[in-house]
């Protein structure tokens, strides 16, 4: 376990080694609930987003990934519904995995990234490439892993952060951690409220009906009993948002969502064997109010029950095998779905072989049963070859799938119960160069997807989903990091570039809302307790119509931030200022929805 964590740490953005309030407590027994993310994915590119980076965008996963990853995020106005596109795939083809449990909505197949409170997480890992064999439906372009860690290290700490910013934004984060060598407990409460009524640059108008408030409560606990580990993860989220209008249409609607996730993991480890039993419940509810003044709403609810047993066996020093049986039962109902359910049994086999110290590979196989679909056999293979100490080659190939959502199947009117799962084949080659100060990653990928589900108008004028589209995504990604310390001055630079061609093969046109180019960059400077940083984002033009006749212009946004840590003995505190959109650029991420003008965010963090 220790070795794995060291690996994580070494792979992390080196920024994580910086002045974090609790940076002392590394090592010892640190438990990641989702072990297969590290153990059976060597041939995949894993990008870690550390808690330092997370803390700079503490209340929006959308902002965080926009500025720190190659994932393109489509946000329907600031703070509104935000959906990701990993390598040009759709939002429902990007799996979001919370402590190993898939949490994409059963109703629309997506995760709204503005409903994820990043402060409740210890790390976020982006796993590029297909992951269906391990993570099931929807892990086509890649997966976003939201992880909590359990640290069995003597500790008792409290942290309180207060955020105040433009547009009457007020937020607070409270975290309490208590741990001994045998017990661990953390509690996090995160609240934010904003009027979100920013001025549209060069227009005599404000963002109207954009108010939101969000509450997130998380609780994680662990018990160490000899060779047994018992871990509990819980998260509750409740949000109310009005949906802001567009340049051409006013809005009076409102949206409420509630999610809760509970996961119990029991882990029994011996020298050769590792047994993990998991039980989980995931609940989601949305309520859409077409008129915020009226009590009328439309809703959807879903409950997911998961039972999971994983047996891992070290056949020899070089070979590890693992089998997983996962039973998932989903129930959904709502205004447009009347009491539907689905049960799925998945059998997964993982094989890991370290051929030598330099070469390893994994083979993963998954087959599902019970549900009514023609379940494809899902296979993936990945390999890692350390050619030189400074040069590593990774490659993977996989078949992946996405099952139709409950909306696709049962929505009245239009749902189509005859849909098949979407199928995708992908391959990826990655080169990693690692030097003392410099780290470079270059990936090329290819994804071919067929039987893609697309809602089409029928002869009766009613839209219905059909397995008719086919897409081909080709692209490359470059990620460079540079970090160096000159005496007490620490510099840390990062640059990401992604080129994505994602074509609808019938029309031979780029898919809508997939930019060809995305560039993110950051510069970070630290001197003792002082820290300054600069973040920037270039988002290339996107097409907004399927015939590529309408274009939404590219945009460039940059933020700067300053932080100072006061090392008071009784109560250390950190003060931070962040100026977003420093050049006050007008931009739209989704057509006709202007994004915020220059704005300020201030944070003060107490540790006691």
């Amino acid at each position: 376990m220790k070795g794995i964590y060291l690996l994580i740490v070494s792979l992390m953005y080196s920024a994580s080694l910086y002045a974090q309030l609790d940076s002392i407590q590394y090592l010892n027994e640190v438990v990641l609930v989702d072990t297969k993310l590290e153990d059976f994915s060597e041939g995949y590119v894993l990008t870690k987003i550390s808690d330092t980076i997370i803390s700079r965008n503490p209340q929006s996963l959308t902002d965080l990934l926009n500025f720190n990853s190659n994932i393109y995020l489509k946000e329907n106005g600031y703070g509104m519904v935000a959906s990701p596109s990993f390598r040009g795939t759709t939002a429902s083809q990007t799996a979001v995995i919370w402590n190993g449990i898939p949490i994409n909505s059963n109703l629309n197949g997506q995760t709204d990234f503005n409903t994820i409170a990043t402060s409740s997480l210890d790390n976020i890992t982006l796993r590029s490439g297909g992951g269906s064999s391990q993570y099931g439906s929807g892990a086509i372009g890649g997966s976003v892993h939201l992880n909590n860690t359990i640290n069995f290290i003597e500790n008792s700490s409290n942290e309180l952060q207060i955020n105040v910013g433009s547009f009457s934004s007020v937020g607070g984060i409270f975290k309490r951690k208590m741990a001994t060598e045998k017990k661990y407990l953390d509690l996090g409460v995160d609240f934010i409220s904003s009027d979100n009524d920013y001025q549209y640059i060069d227009l005599n108008r404000k963002n109207e009906n954009g108010e939101f408030n969000k509450l997130n409560i998380s609780l994680n606990g662990g018990l160490l009993l000899g060779n047994n580990k018992l871990i509990w993860n819980s998260n509750y989220f409740s949000g109310t948002r009005n949906f802001s209008g567009t340049l051409t249409a006013p809005s009076i609607d409102s949206y409420k969502d509630v999610t809760s996730r509970n996961l119990l993991t029991w882990n029994l480890t011996s020298k050769k064997w590792k047994n993990t039993i998991k039980a989980a419940h995931v609940f989601e509810r949305y309520q859409y109010y077409p008129n915020r003044e009226n009590p009328l709403f439309f809703e959807g609810n879903s409950n997911t029950f998961i039972g999971d047993y994983q047996l891992e066996f070290n056949v020899s020093e070089k070979v590890t095998v693992s089998s997983i049986f996962n039973y998932t039962h989903i129930k959904a109902d709502g205004t447009n779905i009347i009491n539907e359910s689905r049960s799925t049994l998945a059998a997964i086999f993982l094989w890991k072989h370290l051929i030598s110290k330099r070469i390893s590979y994994n083979i993963n196989i998954r087959q599902e049963f019970l549900n009514d679909f023609e379940n494809p056999l899902i296979v993936s293979i990945d390999t890692k070859y350390t050619i030189k100490e400074w040069y590593t080659l990774k490659a993977n190939a996989s078949k992946n799938y996405r099952v139709p959502t409950f909306n696709d199947l049962y929505w009245t009117s239009g749902g189509n119960i005859d849909l098949k799962p979407e199928i995708s084949y992908q391959g990826e080659l990655s080169n990693e160069f690692s030097f003392k100060y410099f780290h470079l990653n270059m990936n090329v990928f290819y994804i071919h997807s067929k039987d893609l589900i697309s809602w089409q108008p029928g002869t009766d004028g009613i839209f219905t989903p059909l397995n008719i589209s086919e897409a081909e995504n080709i692209g490359f990604e470059i990620a460079g990091k540079f970090s160096k310390s000159i005496q007490k001055n620490h510099f840390n630079l990062g640059l990401n570039y992604a080129y994505t061609s994602a074509k609808n093969l019938e029309k031979n046109k780029q898919l809508i809302y997939v930019p060809f180019h995305k560039i993110t960059g950051k510069i970070d400077y630290r001197f003792q307790q002082f820290n300054a940083y600069y973040q920037q984002l270039f988002n290339g033009k996107v097409f907004t119509t399927t015939d590529n006749n309408s274009v939404l212009d590219s945009y460039f946004v940059a933020n700067i931030g300053l932080e100072y840590l006061f090392l008071y003995k009784t109560m250390p505190l950190k003060i931070g200022f962040k100026l977003n959109n420093i050049f006050n650029r007008y931009y739209e991420n989704v057509a006709y929805r202007p994004m915020p003008n220059r704005n300020i965010q201030t944070t003060i963090t107490f540790k006691f």
């Binding site: 340049l247 051409t248 008129n291 009226n294 089409q456 009613i462 399927t546 006709y592």
Partner: protein
């Protein structure tokens, strides 16, 4: 050399004379760039965008997109639902933006806008002194639907007439306004009859479920009702209803099969044209039963007829530019297919 100079002078003089003489011919001054020809309303994307208007010249040779924006340098608004006319003024009804843009129908220059008093406006019709606009109000409230009455002199809403839910298309016959209650996002089954002399609701006429289009033929009002769709759990058949406007009584009803939901009633000479199950059908007004054979295949988003031609729109995938198809009804063959904007929902003749 001198000869050459003289020749050039001569040439110039002749040119001047000939150009003067052509100016002397009396030509009517053009009313604007968009006189005659077709106007297509394009609703625009469901959200995050603007609707547009496409101009197509009478000979189909000139096609200009986004003419409102071209002339006025501003977006028209979200979901351009329809256009109504009064003399040389066009009233463009923009549903989701809750407004009407008033332009000169030939030049498309903006005259005025109505932004107050409209809520989900749908269709406009003029009596010459007043304009009438159907409004859904809050689409999820079935009790707040109304007709807004516009004083065409001041271009403002002067009164409203509350009506049953889901008012949609309007037709004017002998100072009587017939309003088809298609039923908004739901279903309704009546026509409202409004006396335009005092702007009051005179009566209602029960027709079939979901009255979606109306035409006038031989002094009868014909109403095409789509019937309740299957997903309502209470599917009903489409109906073609013939109304005697002298006493507003139902004269005749033609029943379709329960699973048949016809749309887009238009008139070509003495025959009625409509769209059903992926085909276009033609029924002579005097025929005693509905036709069994179709004349053209296709499912259209909007459809209308004029001078022996069918003008039908295809909205494609609703996320890219659509097309207008022009079919000669004497041969039932397509003459032209012309690109429009996104979701072409209305065809109008600008003459």
């Amino acid at each position: 050399m001198k000869t050459l100079k003289n020749l050039i002078y001569l040439l110039i003089v002749f040119t001047l004379i000939s150009s003067c003489s052509s100016d002397d011919e009396p030509l009517p001054a053009p009313l604007g760039d968009y006189e005659n020809g077709l106007l297509i309303t394009n609703e625009g994307p469901f959200q995050n965008g603007t609707g547009t208007i496409t101009y197509i010249s009478e000979d189909y040779e000139t096609v200009e997109q986004q003419i409102f924006n071209q002339v006025n340098s501003e977006d028209l608004g979200s979901i351009v639902q329809s256009i109504g006319f009064n003399n040389d003024v066009a009233y463009i009804v923009v549903n989701n933006s809750n407004k009407i843009e008033i332009v000169n129908r030939y030049s498309f220059e903006l005259i005025s806008s109505i932004t107050e008093g409209l809520m989900n406006p749908r269709y406009f019709i003029s009596t010459g002194t007043n304009g009438y606009v159907t409004n859904w109000g809050d689409p999820f409230d079935n009790t707040d639907d109304y007709i807004a009455v516009i004083d065409l002199f001041s271009q403002t809403i002067t009164s409203t007439i509350p009506v049953a839910f889901g008012p949609e298309k309007l037709i004017l016959m002998n100072d009587v306004l017939y309003v088809a209650h298609q039923g908004g996002y739901g279903q309704n089954n009546i026509l409202s009859v409004i006396d335009t002399s005092n702007n009051t609701l005179a009566s209602t006429i029960e027709v079939g479920d979901v009255p979606n289009s109306m035409i006038v033929l031989d002094n009868y009002l014909w109403v095409l009702c789509g019937g309740n769709p299957d997903y309502t759990g209470n599917e009903t058949n489409g109906k073609l209803v013939k109304i005697n406007v002298s006493d507003n009584s139902v004269d005749q009803v033609f029943d379709f099969l329960t699973s048949d939901h016809p749309k887009h009633l238009s008139v070509d000479g003495s025959r009625l044209i409509y769209n059903l199950n992926g085909a276009v059908y033609s029924k002579n007004g005097a025929d005693i039963s509905l036709p069994q054979e179709s004349i053209i295949s296709g499912t259209f988003y909007a459809m209308t007829t004029k001078d022996g031609k069918l003008y039908a729109t295809d909205a494609g995938d609703f996320a890219s530019n659509g097309a207008l198809k022009i079919v000669d009804l004497s041969t039932n063959s397509e003459i032209q297919s012309i690109q429009t904007g996104i979701i072409p929902g209305g065809v109008y003749f600008n003459d």
